[in-house]
Symmetry: C2
Subunit: 779 residues, 2 copies
């Protein structure tokens, strides 16, 4: 898929546009007003058309049937109710209630479902009848072969679960059509009451629609008074409830309404990156005029749209023909959007050759099983792909060069390339030797019999006597003499995940005691991640073990949930945290004197427990895994998102690792996430297990139930002894008032401590890949 | 299963006991000390024996290999490490490291795994080697055919996920043995430092074991200082993590250590009711002496044990032979436990005939599909079971009697029993008529052709001309004349779940306009519920749709999570809340004039949104559903847990309904749960959908990340205009500093509001039974 023109621009036609077109003289090329408008819109350069499915007539009929209840004139009410019942039994439109009747009119059209339908009304009957109306509209849109319908926005946090239940039912009953939930990126009613910069158009979300339900979540504060929860995450929270109730249906997407102005930089926006944004809704009124009078967007909106380009969104422009801005005319709006597209960093990176983004085209958010080069013999084409990396091999050569330059001995320096593949490190080592002017010889070890043919060919054609080839597995092979410098490229996306530690344990047999390993160490790093796309991909993959294996993924529609800021508990680390390290040669080696190999693999087991701060509410879908390696001295390789550009910019060989979670875990703003990960090993396998727990800082309050233990009044006083009236049975109660006092103290102690705030657990994931269920690395 | 002697008592043998027995003269009947001790214990009346699997020798060897690191003498360290590696490669015992070697010794024995194993040590190596040791011990126990092993207690909240991961691995690798996690009911270190009432025995959990890891969860408070979280739920929280990570494995149970004294009445204890308690560990030191010197238990412990009897636990008594109490000797302890058993209210209820508990024996926590009497014709034996209910029919007769007594007309009163089954209501109606002295006639409607035979037989034998039988479905049948009083028994556990509303809609055709329906109304009620047992049962049932259908269940090992107390938000209702009501006859009927039937079933759709306060942390596994019906006047039927005894005590006909959740939802203390439930209907089916969201009151704090939007310094001042240096491109930015200010205000507003506390969402369940997936009620 090419990155040129990633964005489609759609023009929103209004009912007024259609009414106006109907009054125009007949057009020989277009038999209906909608066809005439569509042709017009396309001739102006728009890619697509978006229009309402229904007319005001439908709204009037539905309202009269389903909302009007006089409560005075019972005969009128009964007539309305009878009409409504007849409609409920057999829902359908009349001709003048819809905007389109022909297949041609609907071709390529995105239909707006009646936005006045209150699927989340507080009133049961309104909700019930709005659902029937929605089903009727979707059935009609499907009849016209409409591919995507934009749903009326949810208006009420209070009844969003009812809205969501309805959408889920519609997704199940209409098996083809895509549904897109229209949603403001935040709820502008949290702003102080101040006039909008320009009057909103009728097509804007915030006008013209009945909103009897309050769109704000209002809860009493802890002093009993009412205060509105000013929550910038509120609309996202509604979306999260909707898509969760719809079980992440892949036919459900977002139409993000960008009408309200956006802050220039705010963490609360980044969460949208992980969501399935299909449309961006942008009224002309959101544009402001620049000094020349041309329509441009506020800076916050600009940068949000630039960042959203990776979603290849359809931008729905509304009111571009209303002449709101003095310069540029109708086309100025779409030209401006094309300008944003061209200046989007993501698009620019993708178009620049040599970048990872360019190299990775077509692989974004695509799950690949990690390579198992120890168990499988790689194909030549795989080697070729990796050999294209200009940065990795450059850094290897520098590392070898510096190691040679630093080498103290005067004798011939023995190098060994362990796991040479088709020989790229051999060539780099020879080049480093030549540059260093040192006298050196290379042993070349490879266990892949097929790659060994290539090595033989290269020795004959290029390397001659400067190298000696040895065929076999470095863990067991006999090497004629010990090496001073051991060079290997066994690293995976998570560092040790392709069994570099286990292989190098074997290779240590032929490294001198004071020898150097390149790489000399590597670390594994993790960050918690949200991504609807990856969640769906991982659970769809193969079988129900899909969520038990880590995958190699070029991340795109993902959001790292962790923040760098410290939590109030002070126990959290940075956004991306180190799990563990492997060093070569090992310091604490205990080996079998006979074989030179470790007696067990226990020393390569690892575990980590990491604490992440989650500044903004989000849903945990998995963990992002990265590695960083020190090759030699200050030369390294890194795919750590914050450090890779400093250490090995534009290196292509590794995409990150993705550790999926089977069930999404909801994380509120300001929560803390504890991630446990284990590198497990037995005599035959290595695997990872992972698990997470969420915590939140809460207001302490004494439990309000009536169970508070009190010193039992019947238990006898601590100072008195039980009277003689007691039964002489051996089972009579003892004087345990001391215990009661103890119990009471115990609980009251707890109340005291809970006067402040404390961190409480709020949820956890399952344990993943227990017992190496998917046994993904064979030793 | 009988309720007599539900509790088994096991005697804990210590290593000292075994050492002492080994010094006794040889016993011809017992070839080993363990066999001799076992025989002795059983002769004292104990049911079972519990003993440590390993000796001090094993502890010594393991400690020397795995813990000793001098850091001074590297040769010594290397020798230890070499021994450890050899052991890790091939783990196994020496003869004197185990207490039992023969199958006979292990018969019926519960084995205590070495309690000094720190599976949750902070040190990676200690954990690693403890896991190998645990696997070795379990393998040996399995070899000896031990059925249940009691695991060392988790000691550290910090590393409990590592403990849990290990147990999970052991459950997978040892496919038969049952594992029981020993756990103090709460952590007594939260008590002020005060001496325990008597020195703990070596076998007690709180002595003799190395506890380098702190057993208290210590977190810094919000002012940066350190404060310990005094959390009485902490041990339960550890248990919850363990069984969750072990995915509710049915071979994993609890050995609840009752060493610390218990409060007399405390909400935090009730959660244990929902957990798989297999053993209660009770040292003699927990007993106190009553005035006669006999050992008795503190009142809190007494009542906890009485309530736990429904789990049929094995009580492990330790130190009963140590002579801690002056009277009664060793047998006094188990005699006292038998006394508690006999005085347990649950056991007493089960043993009293006429109670629900007695009637329901064998059905506790057993999932039954709800009856569908409309779709299926019931068997005679089913009718017979329900006819045994003395309370239900008594109340019906009273209701009919009072309705007749209140009836104003002087003419013959027409009664109609709609859905007569085998006729119990007909008989009761005749009896009521006779008592009332009124002149009445009964139409008897039944659609089950088989039951209709029984009705004919009873008419012939008992009822004669006082009744007329009509065969057919009350929704469509023609009845010769309209009734004054319509009597039906169509209620399910949730009221409307056997389609009473739909059936009575049809029967309304033959009820006079001023007629009476018995029942006149009914309500459905819900409460959130926790139960490991029911969670496992529902997910095991049939297919993966197991969690999509409600079940009829006689609850036992369950805990209602909601409290009656008000939450700090003030929005929560009582422990059990009403969902909706149905009234007969309907007030707002709009019917088809031709058929007399409603045009659609829309009026029988219902929905409810309920807010529950959760005082104590727990795991939500489902919803408990109840009904309450008004038959006539103040006569009703109820299975509402708080009201049933007042309205219809000892009524047997209905167990509650259980709405399962597919995934457990963790609810912290003081959280709030929003439950949404819908009664859905289309033209062919009726079904329920349900969903829940959890909320928690949190300390507001500004997000600590660096993303806080600030007025952009480059955005131009609000008071100045952009200078002339700007590029003349039509895409140049506009002066949107006003937007920046707006954005900034917006976020700072949010910070202000978050200075107090607010309710934030912390999790949710899936939507259940969407679209009536399991279509459990056919119309």
């Amino acid at each position: 898929m090419s990155w040129e023109n990633t964005t489609s621009i759609s023009s929103l036609l209004t009912l007024q546009d259609i009414t106006r077109a109907a009054k125009e003289p007949p057009n020989p090329d277009a038999s209906t007003p909608v066809l005439a408008l569509s042709a017009q819109v396309r001739s102006k350069g728009y890619d697509l058309v978006c229009l309402p499915l229904t007319t005001e007539k439908w709204k009037k009929r539905w309202t009269e049937m389903c909302l009007i209840s006089t409560g005075v004139d019972s005969t009128t009410d009964m007539v309305a109710e009878r009409r409504a019942e007849a409609w409920r039994a057999k829902p359908g439109f009349l001709l003048d209630e819809v905007t389109m009747t022909e297949l041609e009119e609907a071709e390529g059209v995105t239909a707006l479902i009646s936005e006045w339908l209150e699927l989340d009304a507080a009133d049961d009957w309104v909700r019930h009848d709005a659902e029937i109306a929605l089903r009727q509209e979707l059935a009609y849109a499907s009849y016209l072969n409409v591919q995507t319908a934009i749903l009326p926005p949810p208006r009420s946090r209070e009844y969003v679960s009812s809205y969501a239940r309805t959408i889920n039912a519609c997704l199940k009953s209409a098996p083809y059509i895509h549904l897109s939930v229209r949603l403001a990126i935040y709820n502008p009613t949290v702003l102080e009451a101040s006039p909008m910069p320009s009057p909103p158009l009728p097509s804007s979300l915030f006008a013209g629609s009945p909103t009897p339900s309050t769109p704000r979540l209002v809860v009493p504060d802890d002093r009993g008074g009412e205060t509105s929860v000013v929550n910038l995450d509120a609309t996202w929270e509604m979306w999260d409830t909707i898509r969760s109730i719809c079980d992440y249906n892949t036919r459900l997407s977002l139409t993000l309404d960008l009408t309200p102005p956006l802050p220039v930089k705010s963490g609360f926006l980044s969460k949208w990156k992980a969501e399935p944004i299909r449309h961006l809704f942008l009224p002309a009124s959101t544009f402001i005029a620049n000094s020349k009078g041309y329509p441009v967007l506020p800076k916050g909106t600009q940068s949000f749209i630039r960042e959203s380009m990776t979603h290849r969104p359809i931008v729905i422009l509304s009111g571009a023909n209303a002449g709101l801005h003095t310069r540029g005319g109708e086309l100025a709006y779409s030209q401006y959007l094309r300008h944003l597209e061209k200046t989007s960093p993501a698009i620019q990176a993708a178009l620049t050759s040599g970048t990872v983004e360019n190299f990775a085209q077509g692989y974004q958010d695509y799950l690949q099983a990690p390579l198992q080069p120890l168990m499988d013999n790689l194909q030549s084409v795989t080697y070729q792909t990796f050999e294209q990396d200009p940065v990795k091999y450059h850094n290897y050569e520098e590392a070898i060069y510096q190691a040679l330059a630093d080498w103290q001995g005067e004798d011939l320096i023995i190098l060994c390339v362990a796991g040479a593949g088709r020989g790229p490190l051999v060539a780099r080592a020879l080049s480093a030797i030549e540059r260093s002017g040192r006298d050196a010889f290379i042993y070349v070890v490879e266990k892949n019999p097929n790659a060994y043919i290539t090595l033989q060919a290269r020795k004959e054609a290029e390397w001659g006597d400067k190298v000696k080839l040895l065929f076999g597995d470095m863990r067991f092979l006999e090497v004629p003499e010990k090496a001073d410098i051991l060079i290997s490229e066994l690293l995976g996306s998570f560092g040790d995940n392709e069994l570099s530690p286990e292989c190098l344990d074997g290779a240590m047999r032929f490294l001198k005691a004071d020898g150097i390993s390149i790489p000399s160490s590597y670390t594994a790093h993790l960050a918690p991640l949200s991504s609807s796309k990856l969640y769906n991909e991982s659970r769809a993959s193969k079988d129900d073990k899909g969520s038990e294996t880590p995958y190699v993924v070029m991340f795109q529609a993902v959001n790292l949930l962790s923040g760098d800021g410290a939590s109030s508990s002070g126990r959290c680390g940075p956004q991306v945290q180190e799990c563990w390290e492997f060093e070569h040669p090992r310091k604490d080696a205990v080996v079998d004197e006979r074989t030179g190999l470790p007696l067990t693999n226990s020393h390569n087991a690892r575990s980590a427990k990491l604490e992440f701060f989650i500044p903004h509410a989000g849903v945990l879908h998995g963990l992002a895994g990265y590695f960083e390696a020190v090759l030699y001295g200050n030369i390294g390789l890194s795919i750590h998102p914050h450090r890779k550009d400093r250490i090995s910019k534009d290196m292509l060989s590794w995409f990150p690792l993705f550790f999926p979670f089977k069930e999404p875990l909801y994380l509120p703003s300001n929560s803390e996430l504890t991630v446990s990960i284990w590198r497990m090993t037995n005599q035959r396998q290595v695997w990872y297990e992972w698990h997470a727990e969420a915590f939140l800082n809460v207001v302490g309050a004494p439990p309000a139930d009536s169970d508070v233990p009190l010193p039992s009044p019947n238990g006898g006083s601590f100072f008195g002894s039980p009277g003689p009236a007691r039964s002489p049975s051996p089972f009579v109660d003892g004087n345990d008032s001391a215990f009661d006092r103890r119990s009471f103290r115990m609980d009251s102690y707890s109340y005291e401590a809970s006067g402040g705030s404390k961190l409480v657990k709020i949820g956890h994931t399952s344990l993943h890949n227990p017992g190496g269920r998917s046994s993904w690395i064979g030793l």
